[in-house]
């Protein structure tokens, strides 16, 4: 028996041991609907993790995983989706900040000023991050 993906294998083992500890703790408490759902979800997750362990011990599956990870189109799609999600978040912060400021002008609610300020700071932060990452990639 050989482990081809040591990282995946040990990650799965650590997760399984954490879940088992969680389940035993759930059993030691009163049985509630929440606990039962938690146990059910944990067992499902353990099944998935066992599948992960099986994959990390199969050479064919490991090779497939490596190709999926290294595939240039997959990487391109991943980068594009990250770029788009960042853009959406950045614009959402900007729109929310402006909306809150406008609503403050109309209703004069102090909570709207605070939330507007928070959105404005988040928007400014995303712009600063964008600026520095641009500088970094422009240089390298």
């Amino acid at each position: 028996m050989k482990i081809y993906s040591k990282k995946n294998f040990f990650m799965c083992l650590v997760c399984i041991s954490m879940i088992v500890v969680g389940i035993t703790r759930s059993f030691s408490r009163d049985i509630t609907v929440f606990n039962l759902l938690n146990i059910l979800a944990s067992i499902t997750l353990i099944g998935y993790l066992i599948y992960g362990i099986k994959r990390s011990m199969s050479k064919k599956d490991h090779d497939e995983d490596v190709i999926e990870e290294m595939d240039e189109r997959n990487r391109y799609v991943k980068e594009k989706s990250r770029q788009m999600s960042f853009l959406i978040i950045e614009n959402t912060f900007g729109i929310m900040a402006i909306t809150c400021i406008l609503l403050t002008a109309v209703f004069g609610n102090q909570y709207l000023i605070i939330s507007g300020l928070i959105f404005f700071l988040l928007w400014a932060f995303s712009l600063v991050v964008n600026f520095f990452t641009f500088l970094y990639y422009d240089k390298n």
């Binding site: 190709i67 999926e68 290294m70 595939d71 240039e72 189109r73 997959n74 391109y76």
Partner: protein, 62 residues
């Protein structure tokens, strides 16, 4: 040669090969080179670079 076999030979997923065939994805220079070695053609021929250049020039004139 099947798409799976080609994908395996150039170490990409079959989805990438399908996207290239459908014109939805432009391969990197290295992938284009690997494909050209397999099909025993030049990269220019594989990517129809001459035709694309003519098309671009025509598009620019319009």
């Amino acid at each position: 040669m099947t798409q799976q076999e080609l994908a395996k030979a150039v170490q990409v997923t079959s989805r990438t090969i399908i996207s290239i065939e459908n014109g939805q994805y432009n391969p990197s220079l290295m992938l284009a080179y690997k494909l050209s070695l397999i099909f025993d053609v030049s990269v220019e021929e594989l990517c129809c670079l001459e035709d694309n250049l003519k098309g671009e020039k025509k598009g620019g004139e319009l």
